[in-house]
């Protein structure tokens, strides 16, 4: 990937007014050459205004569609405006923009590069059913892709023109569909997938859920998503 490629950083945001301005400021600081697009997913707070004031481009959905819905709009924007590379980054500040150049480097051999939390860098830890779900997903998907994928549910990813075009017209809205199902589809279409180890930071705002019931539900949904995705045409 050479320097004159046009890169778009897509940040899906739903009621992230508390952290969005800092995230945009940091991205623009670290990566001044790249365009930043915030997909405001029907926020009821000031997310849109904060993002505009921070200097990002903003597209606002009239109502909440979920991460998958926001991301398809982001990829549609990237496709219509002829970007060569699209990066997906969370609005809560847990993805460090300093890893973006590494993700883009990874696009040399792969069409879709995941920022993986378990691949050595950082000290990201999960336990119990959530951990089982994640290792099940990474086991199955690694075998399908014939390469090691440690963190299949990562929302920190980079992709090239070909994948932008695919995601612009097809991107599931269902829970976990935005990560797991898109990955299955990309692998099945024969596109090479890769990963780059990244360290995650604690969220700038909001708290991650620790409830074991939620984790068990997560495991069940992960398995259903995986089964459906593998059997879909």
């Amino acid at each position: 990937m050479n320097a004159d490629h046009r890169v778009l950083i897509i940040i899906p945001a739903w009621n992230e007014a508390a952290s969005i301005a800092d995230v945009i400021a940091e991205v623009r600081d670290e990566l001044p050459a790249y365009d930043v697009l915030v997909v405001n997913d029907g926020s009821t707070d000031d997310t849109e205004r904060m993002a505009l004031d921070a200097g990002a481009r903003v597209v606002s959905l009239p109502y909440n569609l979920g991460v998958g819905g926001a991301m398809r709009l982001g990829y549609r924007y990237a496709d219509e405006n002829d970007y060569d590379v699209a990066i997906q980054l969370d609005a809560d500040g847990q993805h460090d923009p300093r890893y973006v150049p590494k993700l883009i480097d990874g696009l040399g051999e792969a069409r879709l590069v995941l920022g993986a939390r378990f691949a050595g860098e950082g000290d990201y830890q999960v336990r119990g059913p959530r951990r089982w779900a994640m290792s099940l997903l990474s086991g199955v998907l690694s075998r399908m892709a014939k390469t090691r994928l440690d963190d299949t549910t990562s929302g920190f990813r980079a992709c090239d023109r070909e994948i932008i075009k695919l995601f612009a017209q097809w991107y599931p809205v269902e829970y976990l569909g935005d990560t797991v199902e898109t990955l299955v589809r990309v692998i099945r279409l024969g596109h090479p997938v890769g990963q780059v180890p990244v360290a995650m930071r604690p969220r700038a705002a909001g708290t991650p859920s620790k409830s074991p019931i939620k984790a068990a539900v997560y495991l069940g949904r992960a398995m259903i998503t995986l089964l459906l995705a593998i059997n879909r045409r």
């Binding site: 997909v39 481009r57 903003v58 597209v59 606002s60 959905l61 009239p62 109502y63 569609l65 819905g69 398809r72 709009l73 549609r76 924007y77 219509e80 809205v173």
Partner: protein, 157 residues
Amino acid sequence: MKLAIMTGVVALLLLALIFELLRRRQLREKYAVLWLVVGLVTLPLGFIPSSLDNVSSWLGVASGASLVLFLAVVFLLIVCIHLSWEASRLEDETRSLAEEVALIRADLRDMKDRQADLEAELEQARTSRAGGAANGANGHPVGIVTQRDGKAVLGER
């Protein structure tokens, strides 16, 4: 025979309801046809419940009523599945529309910003040349605004 009158009257009311909805254009034709057929089939069955007994005994079902019940459950299940499918399709369509609206609104905002910039520049040029020789024959200042590389360029004729 009280049962036959009750079911028959219900079938009649159903048929009347469908006809009324259709008359007021509240039902799409594809559904109307379906429900009209349902109404027309239940009407004779409602008044003469024993009319199905031959068919049901041929199928090995004890009574016509339970055959109708069974078929009704199957039919309603299929209708429910169809409606879920329809709802999923509509959600897909509204999702596309929502995306379209978002993109158009973003474009519109860019246009408005550009227009505001252009007007500001035009105003500036006008005031700086007020009283100058740049007025046209009719007394209005003449300026040509062109776009070069996405930037407004103000030129004199």
